[in-house]
């Protein structure tokens, strides 16, 4: 049969099935179960109306249960069994084996890096672009250009960036932009500014931002008047503070490295094989894609800010930075949180980019790719399911936070 015809039939059957379900079930409810006639007409109408919402909810609940809730339970079960032993229950053995693996911890570390860098960079750049493009005449064109990567699949974007990072032997023309630029550096003053001073400044700025955010999270522990939310929130604050401290330590170490490292001037680099930094080369792909999303949402939010509050702030003596950080950003904080968490969820599931560019080699493993390796390459359902459970555990607090802030917004 012609695929187009098949598609058409599928649509007709699907939509018709939905319409048929709702119509028929309501007919049964109103005419057969609780008919609106006879002595009990009034009571029957009330009963029918109590049941009706469940009729409408049933298909969604059923589908979600079958394809979402059941797999979670089944994955949990599989993570506690051993395939080689014929599916025998082995308790937490799979988790123990997984934890003993270096690759798992490498994936965890990389995932944490992704989790912090990508949403932060995408949201920050998106916010900056949204703010700046509103003030220039060709802002609409700039916005479309920045939004365009959203239309490219992760794999397509990975292929594009593989070309950017490509290396040819020294002496040949470099087709990768990164190496073409790299070969321009010769160790002179410009190289010092671009490769030592600039990264150092960026690192110091990063340390400052992280320290500030950590301080915001820690403040309620010292100032009781700011203490809000339950124990879970407090625990999350603590976790964030520890992560921030770790980041600051890493940055300080890198700061030292930036000034002491010996650069290999004149030699084309295989960028994707440089441990640790290649993670960032992969992250750039996702940042490149997600910035457009953040920009569009935040741009709309910025436009929703009442103009008078900004004018009032100008008259109240605020400078442009104060207006941006104290008037505009707090007013769209709800949107920023939603954008951030949405990107976070994308990041935690990141698979295609790593799969297409390095396949987890050279210390770039992430959890989703690790899970794929275990489940479909090693055919080890136990450890594979265990890593899937870990991903779910990581996603859950962010989801809870998302729901919590969404509810707060609605109040």
């Amino acid at each position: 049969m012609n695929p187009a015809l098949q598609g058409l039939i599928t649509i007709i059957v699907g939509v018709g099935g939905c319409v048929g379900y709702f119509w028929l079930s309501n007919q049964v409810l109103d005419k057969v179960l609780f008919p609106a006639r006879g002595d009990d007409a009034g009571r029957n109408i009330n009963r029918a109306n109590q049941i009706r919402p469940w009729l409408f909810l049933f298909p969604a609940i059923f589908a979600l249960g079958l394809y979402l809730a059941y797999p979670v339970v089944e994955t949990l079960r599989l993570s506690l069994t051993d395939r080689d032993a014929g599916g025998a229950f082995v308790g937490l053995e799979n988790y123990r084996r997984m934890m003993a693996e270096d690759t798992f911890w490498e994936a965890m570390r990389n995932n944490m890096l992704w989790l912090i860098v990508v949403p932060a960079a995408s949201t920050a750049i998106g916010l900056l672009v949204a703010q700046l493009t509103d003030r220039i005449a060709w802002g609409a064109i700039a916005k479309s250009l920045i939004f365009m990567p959203m239309a490219i699949s992760f794999v397509g974007a990975s292929v594009i960036f593989k070309l950017i990072y490509d290396a040819r032997p020294a002496g040949q023309a470099q087709i990768g932009v990164m190496n073409a630029v790299w070969l321009q550096f010769d160790g002179g003053p410009m190289s010092f500014i671009m490769l030592r001073l600039l990264p150092a400044i960026i690192l110091i700025a990063f340390i400052a931002v992280v320290a500030y955010v950590a301080w915001i999270f820690l403040k309620p522990f010292f100032d009781t008047s700011l203490r809000k939310g339950g124990a879970v929130i407090q625990a999350m604050r603590g976790v964030f503070a520890i992560v921030a401290a770790w980041l600051i330590f890493l940055s300080l170490r890198s700061l030292w490295g930036v000034f002491t490292i010996t650069y290999a001037y004149g030699e084309p680099q295989q960028w994707l094989t440089i441990p640790f930094w290649n993670n960032f080369f992969l992250m750039v792909v996702l940042i490149w894609i997600q910035t457009g999303f953040a920009m569009v949402i935040l741009s709309a939010a910025l436009r929703g800010i009442p103009e008078e509050t900004i004018e009032a702030a100008i008259i109240d003596g605020a400078n442009p930075f104060q207006i941006f950080f104290k008037i505009k950003v707090p007013q769209i904080m709800g949107t920023i949180v939603v954008v951030w968490t949405t990107i976070t969820l994308v990041v935690l599931k990141v698979f295609d980019i790593v799969f297409a560019m390095t396949n987890g080699q050279w210390d770039t493993q992430v959890l989703a790719n690790y899970m794929y390796d275990k489940l479909f390459r090693s055919l080890d359902w136990g450890v594979g399911s265990a890593s899937a459970m870990i991903i779910m555990l990581l996603v859950s607090p962010i989801l809870i936070w998302n729901v919590w802030s969404a509810r707060k917004e609605m109040k």
Partner: protein
Amino acid sequence: MAKIQFDGVGKRYDNGAHAVRDLNLTIEDGEFMVVVGPSGCGKSTALRMAAGLEPITEGRLLFDGHEVNALSARDRDVAMVFQNYALYPHMTVSENIAFPLASRGMAKDEIAQRVARAAETLGLTEYLSRRPKALSGGQRQRVAMGRAIVRDPRLFLMDEPLSNLDAKLRNQMRAEIIGLQKTQGVTTLYVTHDQTEAMTMGDRIAIMRGGVLQQAGAPRDLYDHPANLFVAAFIGSPAMNLFQADLRFTDSGPVLVTSGGTLELGPGAALPARARDHDNRTVVVGLRPEHLSLGDGPGPSLAATLTLTEELPPEKLLHTLITAETPMTDQVVAVAADVDASAVGDLAQDARAHRSRLVARLPVDTPVPASGPLDLRFDPARLHLFDARDGQVIR
């Protein structure tokens, strides 16, 4: 606190629209100046130019004799209350009030002190930790006022601050703002479209129309001596009665000839000095409703037909029609258009029927027939005469 001078200030947009033309207005130190006019008259633009939110394209704006045209809004040291209050929704009341101080880098304990004082003045002390969302309209209005009075600005700017409140609250806040301004003694520029607000609040009033200042002066001055038809029609509620007549000077004194008859003003009628120049010309006659009376007293009388009586103790309003041409100058039409489009239609209908509406304001216990013909008397000394061609008062 400062003396504010608009010296030939104008605002012309890039598309050529002229929002304000050649505005010359001085606001004395500590004075409460109300700028009033129909929507689109340029009053808000003038206010925003004073605030520094709109660049001034023509003329000079002086604060205490120093030109501030190039000074940015944040350096002008003005405070502004917006029509919809423009409170910062993410800040508590105390943070809102403290913001102008905090953004100027004042010490924390002094900020706290000043916020507490401002909150007490406005009765906001118990709401300091609330967000604007949790406040009533009147309380939000107060917070906006608090944000303005917390530092001692050189100039208060208020852009229709009462228009979002209901009538009862508006009267109360009106009195509060006047009291506040008097105790603070800060020069104030207050913009409104409501002439009652203007009359009750302002030390002086400036009336604008189409970007041009029509007249500035004390409220009584504008009421008693309007400079042109626009001011005459705009100030006063109910509005001044206007009808057209030909002014003639005869042997028995000046007379007004309307299409319905001749009004003898009497030999001793005290007409303005320049009235003679308008001999045999069409003028617009203006009469305040309270200057019309019933009965056999002295003075000329108008043959009117009573159409409606409104009782509003201690007075009653008689709505009547007389046979006289309705003036349809653009100034009169502009005032009517500010009320409602249908008011312009009524005016045009009257003009076609060669009649004019006359409202008389009498004590509520005056005996009046239910309807029918009436003789309305007036004192010729209370007449306002306007040139029918340019609408300027005849002095």
